[in-house]
Amino acid sequence: MYSNLIIDLMQIIMLTISTVVVMMTTAFKRDHGLISGLTVFGLFASLLTFVFIQPVLPLEATQLLIIDEYSLFFSNLIIVGAIGVALLAYPYFQNHNVQNEEFYILLMTATLGAVVLACSNHFVSFLLGMEMMGVSLYAMIAYPVHAAKSAKFPLEAGVKYLILSALTSGITLFGIALVYAYIGTMGFDEIPAALEAAGELGPVFLIGVLMIVAGAAFKLSLVPFHIWTPDVYEGAPVPVTAFLATVSKAAMLAVTLRLLLVSNAIELNVVTTVLTVMAAASIIFGNLLALLQENVKRLFAYSSIAHLGYLLVIIIAAAKIPGTLSVEGVSFYMLAYFVMSLSGFAVISALSNSEKEYDQLADFRGLFWRNSWVSAVLITVLLSLAGIPLTAGFIGKFYIFTTGVESELWFLLTMLIIGSAIGLYYYLRLIYIMLQPAEDDTNDPAAVSLPLGVHAVMAAMTAAIIYLGVYPAPMIDTLQSLASAF
């Protein structure tokens, strides 16, 4: 029993050990290459432990954490994301002469927090994971605060994220407190029984629920809690933006979906209504905001708002159709979105370093002819984000439509179509700019030869986008089995 428990928690343990190792090594020898290598190695080792964990699933490791196929899937995803971020970070910080090594420690702790969040089955572990990730992120966002040219942006982004995130953490926590006050339990799977026992619940309880929803919505950057997204995306160093867009979103989504389904909150009329409004608003406003955006990182930020809005459609659908299909869809869409975002930020990262980020639309002019490989990756990503067949994004969109049709969410589907139509414009605009001949070739960021790591990330993610788009059947089978837990 105990040994099983240890195997069960192996991933978290392994991550913790790696974190400590990285930290200790840093204390003795500051070497950027070594530390980043160690980080990647540690993350990789943690990832591989899933081979051992798989056979003992599912298992509840204390009240706080549950390790099942669902959480394992998201943990793996998170760790893959972290590896990607680490690979992108190395070239990015290479020319940054101040201490780079702490960044990897922060990355490790943030990853640990994210994994805990994805596995959490209790509000305490929820808080623990969320804040571990959050606090690490504050520092990560503001990390290159000393870098010469772009110093003010990381600071601004860090402060903004810190204050707003702390504000919403407070809101979430107060919401948890209210809920706890009325039902007397904080374990997710105990909530339905407690609700039953508590009988009719007043508005204060509902306010608590809504405050929790608001907190999750903030992390998922859903309208009306989206407003921090573009500034933080823009100000943060590219690898951190990638982390925010992928790991942070995946972890939060994993726990939110679990909470909604396990606690049956999704069946509350109030929750579905609020989610519907947020989904529609996110889809429309996110796309509208991105329309003429000149900064590619902000563009991705706004498009992430829209995409999370799309995702919400599948979640809302869970109120009417069996949760399994919804979980399957959410997992697939998240996977697809994860892969696309990582790939997209890898491209921006390939063009940037801590001294100068090439994130203006104009910087991409003629990229297709200067560096066709990098731009082909970005084109694939953009087409996938637009939901064009042959890419993972299409299968994702297919899931949204399928679940939407099955639960007859005609309003949201209409919004989805309108939003996607607007979305096409800015994705295509970026593609178009890349296809045009450059006005002058002097300012050519892609001329720098790139380290293997970035290429590896781009290649792996692009391959994943296309594989998932052309032959999704194996992945769908996997997701189907993990969803059976719900």
């Binding site: 508005p203 903030f218 009306p224």
Partner: protein, 611 residues
Amino acid sequence: MLDLLWLVPVIPFIGFLILTLTFGKLPQLAAGIVGAGSIGLSFVFAFLAGSSFLGAEISSYSQTLWTWMSVGDLEVGFTLYLDGVSLVMMYVITGIGFLIHVYATGYMSGDPSFARFFSYMNLFVSAMLILVLADNLALLFMGWEGVGLCSYLLIGFWYKDPNNGYCARKAFVMTRVGDAFMAIGLFTLFVSTGTLNIQEAMLEAEAQWVVGSGVATAVTLLLLGGAVGKSAQLPLQTWLPDAMAGPTPISALIHAATMVTAGVYLIARTHVLYLLAPEVQYLVGVIGAITLLMAGFTALTQSDIKKVLAFSTVSQIGYMFLALGVGAWSSAIFHLMTHAFFKALLFLTAGSIILAMHHEQDIFKMGGLRKDLRWSHALFLIGTLGLVAFPGFSGFFSKEEILASAMENHDGGYILYLAGLLGAVMTYLYSFRLYFLVFYGKKTHDGHEVMGLHLQGPLVLLAIGAVFAGFIHIPVEGVFPEMEEHHPSVMAQAAMILLPMLGGLLAWWVFVKGKVDTEKLAGQGFGAKLHRFWFTQWGMDWLYDKIIVTPYTWLAEVNKNDFIDSIYNGSARAVRFCHEVMSETQTGQLRWYAISIAYGLLLLVVLGVLL
């Protein structure tokens, strides 16, 4: 030899292909030989097929080449059909066509686009033969459209002058208006009788339709629409005078002898349907009568030699329509044939005069040419006598038949007869006006007859035809219902012959003797107005321009940028505007961000509590 019938339309088509695909590389002599020779060869085969048809003493012969379309209940074969009427037409087309081709080798010699000219001509003959030989209306329509196309191409043959292009387009579009009606007529006929085969459809119609029923009226009216378009009858006649912009042999072949008479052929071909719709048949006669008068008056005011002839053509086709209207089917075809001879002769001779006058077409700049242009004078006189139906000349026999039939016709034919008679007077008047103005009076310019076997040879042959064609018996008995023999009284016959001659006398009196100052008459007061009214074909061009052309071009110009487009562009602008409004919310101010989160929470709570 009948099974060689298919060669008749095919040989000119091969000629067309040869001339076209060499893209003007062929030397002029070779092009001439191919161009005229193909028609000659076609005539030979037509003659062979025709004589064995006549020899076989059958009423009709049909030859199916292949199945053109077979869709559901629609069965259209690529089938040729020969009977008396199409035989006459085939002879006219290949025979007169051949003569005109030969003439054209002289007329067009030296033109840089010599081969192109003959390629179009050959295509025309081929299409015209398909028109008359078609056994079904779809195939007929193919020839019908084909001749229209060639007409367009040949009117605009000298493409450098934009006016020629305009005239060509006008001709094509106006006839196409008629064609659209005709197409609808075909559909109606098909839906009603289940076939497009002309003979079968007529049998079906006879069996099914009630005389004067709606469907009969509709079909015949629609077909009539096609016919008036092609044959330049009211109200679609205004294109024909403009069509004179083409080279003169074109005017002779297409706009006098063959294509413009296709409408007459169509109605004669489908006469059974018209018999089932007597009102429409009478309408055909009325249209003919009005057209022949209108064109006669207009011809009187024209100064361009070819336009006078063009209006005379309109007028003569009016006679044919009149004949159709009173049921004198064979007279119509008869007049068609004689008209082909004398009108082709007139046009070609006019062409010779124009050549001799160095491309001058204004008759007021001619005059006194009878000495200089002896050949032309003689030939033109023969043609004119044919046209005015001078006793003994070909036109006399056919026109007299028509007028006699009209007179004897019981239902309202009398009015038509009177119109025809008046028209005959007019014919004399304008024909001799033309003749006198060109060949008599004071000589202003010198003319030099251009001589050559290929010019005068065909003219002489046509002149022989113009004199003697009236004695030809056309073999149409089996095709049309028997007509009772007309025996108009001596008085009536005398009136028919003598009364029109007054017109000739008047012309002589005015234009040779100079007893009336025509310029003064037409230059002021009521005379001027009348002159203008006649000259502009009763203002119909003006009317069409005002009610169709101008509004359409205005509408097109107004909506040049497609207003539907602005709906889409407008919504794109609206989205852009929303974007701008939305991005105002991203102020970058942290406190506003915090407040927005608080508002967001409030919104959620309000929403939640309200529900």
